[in-house]
Symmetry: C2
Subunit: 166 residues, 2 copies
Amino acid sequence: MTETGQKAKIILQQCLSARLQVKPPEGDTPGEFVEIARGLVVYVCFMKSATKDIIQKMVKSIMNVKLSTDEDGATLSILDLPGSVLIVPQATLGGKMKGKVMQYHSNIGKTEGLEFYTEFVTEIEHTLHQSKKSKEANCVVKWGTYGNRQVLSIVTNGPFTHVLDF
Amino acid sequence: MTETGQKAKIILQQCLSARLQVKPPEGDTPGEFVEIARGLVVYVCFMKSATKDIIQKMVKSIMNVKLSTDEDGATLSILDLPGSVLIVPQATLGGKMKGKVMQYHSNIGKTEGLEFYTEFVTEIEHTLHQSKKSKEANCVVKWGTYGNRQVLSIVTNGPFTHVLDF
């Protein structure tokens, strides 16, 4: 994969709990949040070169690759853990250093980005809901509002941070 | 930069506060933690190809590139914010997917890795302490214990996550 041909970038962190603002406060109305308990925080950014066929490949990796650890330190997929998933749109992942500033020239446009993001979220939900183990453990998929500031808090027992390039 | 020639990988997240375990609990003795208030969480992983000359370049980027946002959304360097730095050794960043598992064949060895990590921490401390603005604001550098599980909690107002490859 060449840098110019990059389609998407993902960062994964396992969490004991994570909380994300989905609606900012407005006047006297407090902000709205979504939360997950134990699981995986998925930061995602689509690039200009992204194609729709990449989404299934990304979701397959996120859900099936052993990116979580259990109490004994064994590595498991999020479906086998089983755990919940919190998806955080994070356009900054597309940044490249240029002198003292970050540039985001390779990022996908906003309208197309929202389309990719929505399909990505749907596909992760679909995959989790197909897993009997995840369903029985009441695992959920939550996600941030595309284009918003992602006000996030995360508690980990070791983030076990991984970067996946597509 | 080719993938095989990669020397180090860094992830940066801005935080309002972050807390990291530096000594795990033992029997009745509780674990020990370090904490920072507003600033930057720096996850770092050195690769087999790492050379000592890369450290200064990494530190210069982390401390001087505009990777933080202020209340008005303007982007600033951590020295200009000014803010504190929490360094988290994170060997998982060197992982590459191979089927359903992650492999870490490109990661630096443990002894050499500790040497690079120690020099990296020292260089960040040195750079922060040279900044009058950071000193006057009582900004600090804290870091995790190399080789430990990095039990981390982070509160953000938007992580503004960036990946830097060296």
